[in-house]
C-alpha cells in the first residue's frame, strides 16, 4: 500500500474516533471508547473491502456488515457519516428521541439488517446470511461481523463457529476487536490473541492475528480473509480501548460513558475531519426471484383419523416448500421428532441442519429472513427456551421468522418434565408483535402453517407429540386471531376455552356433562395471540363464566390470554383456569393429563362445581 493511502486510512480512523466522541458527547451517553478501539478496523473495511451500495441497501450483491458489539454504535454511525448517508446534524441526534441513531443499532436504519446489543448474536446471525449467500443464492457478497472480545465468552459464538466451519462459509469474516477490557474489567484472555486463534482454529477456522491499529496489516488481513477458500476467517486484532486519547486509552472504568473532556479529546485526535469515503460498489448480481407459485397443496386429513399435529406440520411444510421457493426449514437435530424431516426429504437444498444448538437454529433463521427467505425452524417446545434471547432480539430486528415447538405439554407422557414444553406460550406471548398458534387437529395445523408464512414478526406454532382426532374438514378456514366455537346451545351454563390436546378433553367433558343435563359451550382457542376477544366476549355474555384449560403452566398461557381479552374496562366474566400446577414425572399421556387436572373428568368436575355452587346461572 502506498504511504499516502495508509495515511489516509489512518486519518479516516481518526475521523471515526472523533465522530464517535462527538456523538457520545452530544448524547451525554454511549460507548465511545469501545468505538475507538475498532476505528482503524472499521476505516480499512469501509474504504477498501466493503462492497456496498448505500443508495440501494437491497442490492443483491451488497456485502453485509453486522456490528455484533452493538454498543459501539457511534462507530457505525460515524462510518455512515463518512459514507455520506448520515449527515453531521443527524450524527449528533445520537440516542435522542425519534432519532434513527439508537443506542444500539436497529433496522430502523436501512443499512442495518438485524439489531444488535445482546452480545454474541452477530456471528450466529451472520452465519445465517452467509448460508443464504453460499447455499441458496450463489451470490458474491461477503458477510463481515465486527465483534468484541468479551462476547467470545458467549456459547452462542461457538455454536456459530462450529456451524460456519462445518458449512465451509468462506464468505464470512469475523473481526474480533481485542481491546482486552470488558465492561467491568479485563477479559479472561486480555491481549492473548493466540487464545482466540487457537480456539477458532480448532473449530476449523482460518485465523489471522494482527495489530488492529496498523492499517496496512489490517488491510492485508482482510484481503487474506477474502481470498481464503472453504473456511471462514477470523481476523483477531489487538487494539486499545479508547485509542488515541490518553485520558481513557486502555484504562479501566471508561466503558459506556462519554469522554471526560470531549473537546480536549477531539483536539488530541487531530480535530474534526470531513473525509468522505467512496465505498466500492457491489458486483453485479442477479436479483433473486421467487416465482409466486400457486397456493400450497396442503395435505388433507380424514375426519375421525388420529393424526399428530407434528405430522401435519411436517407434511404441510413440505407442501408449502413446493409452492414457495423462498420457504426454508431448519432443524436442531430433532427433525425426526418435529417432522421437519418431511421437508428435508422433499427440499434438501433448502433444508439446514443446525444440530443441537438452538441459539444457532434461531439465529440462522434470523439471518436467512434478512436475505428475504421465509424460515421455519423447529425443535421441542421445551428447548426453544434455549433461544429466548435470540427470539427477543428477533423482535427488535423486526425479523419475520416461523418457530415451531413440538412435544408440547405433559401430554408427551413418559419422557418427563425436562422434555415437556410448559412455559413456551408464556415466552412467545410476551414477544413484541408475535403470533402464537396452537392447533388441535391435523387439518387446522396445515391451514395455520400456510397462514403463518404470510405474517410478519415472530410466529410460533405449538405442536403435539401424540395423535389427536381430526375434527375439522380439510377446507375449514382458520386465521390468526380467530377461534372456533365447537359446541354451543342456547342453554350453555359455562364456556370451556381450550386449545391443542385439551380441545379433545373438553369435547369429552361436554359429553359427560351432557348426560347430566349440563350444557357447555366449547371454544377452540387455536390463536393464543392475537386472541379472539369478540368470540370470548360473546361467550361471556351468554354463559357468565369461562373455564380455561391448557397443557401449560397456568401463568402466561391460555388462561392469561383469555384474561387479557377482558382487560378493556368492560365487565369481566367469572374465570377459572385449569393448567399444570405440579412438577410432572413420568407417566402415560392419559395419566399425565389426569394428574395435571386437565383431562375430561377434571374439566367436568370444574364445571360441575361452578354449577353446583350456583355461581353460574
Amino acid at each position: 500500500m502506498p504511504r499516502e493511502a495508509a495515511r489516509e486510512l489512518a486519518d479516516l480512523g481518526q475521523q471515526l474516533r472523533v465522530d464517535a466522541v462527538r456523538a457520545a458527547a452530544a448524547a451525554d451517553s454511549g460507548h465511545p471508547t469501545s468505538s475507538m478501539s475498532a476505528a482503524d478496523l472499521a476505516a480499512v473495511l469501509l474504504a477498501r473491502h466493503l462492497h456496498y451500495d448505500f443508495d440501494d441497501p437491497d442490492h443483491p450483491g451488497n456485502d453485509r456488515l453486522i456490528l455484533s458489539k452493538g454498543h459501539a454504535s457511534p462507530l457505525l454511525y460515524a462510518m455512515y457519516r463518512a459514507a455520506g448517508v448520515v449527515d453531521d446534524a443527524e450524527l449528533l441526534t445520537f440516542r435522542r428521541r425519534d432519532s434513527r441513531l439508537e443506542g444500539h443499532p436497529t433496522p430502523r436504519l436501512p443499512w442495518v439488517d438485524v439489531a444488535t446489543g445482546s452480545l454474541g448474536q452477530g456471528l450466529p446471525v451472520g452465519v445465517g446470511m452467509a448460508l443464504a449467500g453460499k447455499r441458496l443464492e450463489n451470490a458474491p457478497y461477503r458477510v463481515w461481523v465486527l465483534s468484541g472480545d468479551s462476547e467470545m465468552a458467549e456459547g452462542s459464538v461457538w455454536e456459530a463457529a462450529e456451524h460456519a466451519a462445518y458449512e465451509h462459509l468462506d464468505n464470512l469474516t469475523l473481526i474480533i476487536d481485542v481491546n482486552r477490557l470488558g465492561q467491568r474489567g479485563p477479559t479472561r484472555h486480555g491481549w492473548d490473541l493466540d487464545a482466540y486463534a487457537r480456539r477458532l482454529a480448532a473449530f476449523g477456522w482460518h485465523t489471522i492475528e494482527v495489530d488492529g491499529h496498523d492499517v496496512e496489516a489490517v488491510d492485508a488481513a482482510f484481503a487474506e480473509a477474502s481470498a481464503t477458500r472453504s473456511q471462514p476467517t477470523a481476523v483477531i486484532a489487538r487494539t486499545r480501548k479508547g485509542r488515541g486519547v490518553a485520558q481513557v486509552e486502555d484504562r479501566e472504568g471508561q466503558h459506556g460513558k462519554p469522554l471526560p473532556d470531549a473537546d480536549a479529546a477531539i483536539e488530541e485526535l487531530g480535530g474534526p475531519r470531513f473525509v468522505r469515503v467512496e465505498v466500492s460498489p457491489p458486483p453485479a448480481a442477479p436479483a433473486r426471484r421467487h416465482p409466486a407459485g400457486g397456493p400450497p397443496e396442503l395435505p388433507r386429513f380424514e375426519a375421525g383419523d388420529s393424526v399428530a399435529t407434528r405430522d401435519a406440520y411436517g407434511q404441510a411444510l413440505a407442501a408449502l416448500g413446493s409452492a414457495r421457493e423462498d420457504v426454508v426449514a431448519l432443524d436442531g437435530e430433532v427433525g425426526d421428532s418435529t417432522r421437519t424431516e418431511f421437508f428435508a426429504k422433499a427440499h434438501p437444498e433448502r433444508y439446514f441442519e443446525c444440530y443441537i444448538a438452538e441459539q444457532q437454529l434461531v439465529a440462522a433463521a434470523v439471518g436467512l429472513q434478512a436475505r428475504g427467505y421465509v424460515p421455519f425452524a423447529a425443535s421441542f417446545a421445551a428447548f426453544l427456551t434455549r433461544a429466548h434471547d435470540f427470539v427477543r432480539m428477533a423482535a427488535v430486528s423486526r425479523a419475520g421468522i416461523n418457530l415451531v415447538g413440538s412435544h408440547a405439554g405433559v401430554a408427551i407422557g413418559q419422557d418427563g418434565p425436562s422434555q415437556m414444553g410448559l412455559e413456551d406460550l408464556a415466552m412467545f406471548r410476551a414477544v413484541h408483535g408475535s403470533t402464537v398458534l396452537y392447533p388441535c387437529d391435523a387439518n387446522q395445523t396445515a391451514q395455520l402453517v400456510a397462514e403463518m408464512a404470510e405474517l410478519t414478526g415472530v410466529r410460533y406454532l405449538r405442536t403435539s407429540r401424540g395423535g389427536t382426532p381430526v375434527i375439522y374438514g380439510p377446507d375449514e378456514e382458520f386465521r390468526p386471531g380467530g377461534s372456533k366455537v365447537l359446541r354451543s346451545t342456547g342453554r350453555d351454563r359455562v364456556t370451556v376455552v381450550a386449545a391443542g390436546v385439551t380441545v379433545h378433553e373438553a369435547l369429552r367433558a361436554a359429553e359427560l356433562l351432557d348426560r347430566e343435563g349440563i350444557d357447555v359451550r366449547i371454544i377452540d382457542l387455536y390463536s393464543v395471540k392475537p386472541v379472539d376477544a369478540e368470540t370470548l366476549r360473546e361467550a361471556a355474555e351468554a354463559t357468565g363464566c369461562l373455564v380455561t384449560v391448557e397443557d401449560h403452566r397456568v401463568q402466561g398461557g391460555i388462561g392469561d390470554a383469555v384474561a387479557e381479552a377482558f382487560a378493556d374496562g368492560r365487565p369481566v366474566p367469572r374465570l377459572v383456569r385449569l393448567g399444570v400446577q405440579h412438577m410432572p414425572a413420568s407417566a402415560s399421556p392419559e395419566d399425565q393429563l389426569h394428574l395435571a387436572g386437565i383431562d375430561a373428568e377434571s374439566i367436568a368436575a370444574a364445571v360441575r362445581l361452578l354449577v353446583e355452587r350456583a355461581v353460574v346461572r
Copy 2:
C-alpha cells in the same frame, strides 16, 4: 490391571447393558442404545473410580456424578442396581407412574443432584459443583460428567469449558461418549475424536482419547484424569451405540426406543447378571458448617432520598454475605451495573465472575446450590432470557437459586430495546415454584433480598437502573406474597396496581387526580408471584375496577398476575392494563415512560376515562 479384573469390568458393562435393555423393555420406551454405548465407561467409573457412599448421599467427600446425557437414564439406574441401592423390581418400574426412575433423572432420587434431559447442561452445572469443591470447600471430591457427543454442539458446553479451564478445575472430569450417532443421524464429527480433543485442548483442557469399550484403557484414562493437576480433563471415548447387540449396534434409526427383540438381545449380551459392585467410600471430609449468624445488618435508606434499587440490592447482598457464610454471588461481567460488585469487594472469596456467559452464570449457581450454598446470580434482566432453559431445568432440579435482573423496562432510557428487560416477568412467572419480586424502593429491596434468601425454588428479583424515591421506612416489613396499599380512602373510585418504577408514577397520578376530586387506591404489588389475592380482592370490592400499570409487556407480567388472582370463579372486577405495547427506541427515561403510556399522565388519563365513561362508580 490383572486379566481377571478386566474381565469382571467387562462383565459389569454387559450387566449394565442387559439392565438398560430390560428397563426399556419393561417401560416399552426409553433409550437403551444410548445407554449401551456408555456402559463400559460407566462400569469402570462405578467399580474403580467413583468414591461415593450411597447410604449417605450428603457425605461431604462424595464424588458427584452428573449424567448429562440424561436420556441414557437406564444406564444410570442399572448402575444403581449394581451398587445395590435400586433392586431389580424397582429397576423394572422405569418410566412408570409414581416410579422414582423417571424417563430422565431427577433429584427425586437421592443420588441425583440435578435433573438432566436438556442436553448441554451437565458440564455447566458440574463446573458449579467443582468450583464449590475447589474454591469454597477445599474438599477432596471429584465431579464426573458423562456427556453425549451430540450435545457438544450446545454453546453452553463451551461456556462451561472456558469457565472450567480458567478456574483450573482439576477436580472435574468430562467423559464424552462418542457413539457418533445423534437422534436423527450422524453427528458433525462422527468418530473424529480428535475434533473434540482439539477444541477442548484449545480451551485449556487436558484431553485423553480412548476406546470406550476397552476397560483397561478407560481405567487408565480415568486414573490420568484424577492425577492431572491444574486443568480439567476430558476423556473422549470412541464407542458404538447399541454396543453388543448386532441388530442395533451402530445403526441409524435406533435412537430412543426399546430394542426390537429384548429377549434375544439379553441372550446376545450373555444373559442377566447379578454382579454387585462395592463402590469405594469417599475419603473422610469435614462436614461443612455455616454458623447461623445473626440477621443481616441491612442498609437503611432515608425516606425521600433517590436511590436505585440495584444499588440497594448490591448493598443488601453484601450485608447478607456478612451475616451468612453460605451466601455466594455470581456475575455475568456486568457487576458494576447490577451492583454485584459491592459483594465482590466485601467477600471476594465467595464471588464468582462468569464473564459474558449467562447460561454458565445460572448453571454455576445451580451447581453451587447443589453443594448447599445460597447463590445470587445477576445480569441485566434482558440477558437472563439467555439462560431460560437453565432456569426451567433448575425448577425440575428443585434447585434453590436467586436470580437478579437489573435494568428492567423502558425506564433505562437511551440504551434502547436490546438492553430493556420487558419479558422477564413473563419468563419467571411461568417457572414452576418460582417467586417473582419487583421492589420500588431501596428499603423494600433490601428487605426482599434478605427474604428471598430464605425461600425454596427459583427466586427472581427485578431491579431498576435509575434512582427512585425512598418511600418506605427501613423497618417496614415485606414478604413474598404480600403487597402494600399505599393510598386508600373510603371514596376510592379506581385501584391502580403498580410495581417498581410505576409505583412512583401511580403516586404522582393520584396527586393529579386528587386535584380533580378523583380518589384512587394504590397498591404496590412488589410480589408479582405469589400474588396477594386477598388485598386485590378487597380493592376490587371497594372500587370495582383495577388498572394495572407495568414497565413490561402487557403479556405475562403484572396485568396477567392480577388477572390470575381473580381466576377463582368468584366475580371479577373490571380490569384495564397499561404496559409496553410498542417497540421502544432511544429516549430519556421520562420520555420512555410517557411513550409507553405508563407514566403518571397516562395513568391519570386511564382513570379519568374509566370515571367519565361511568363504568366505575
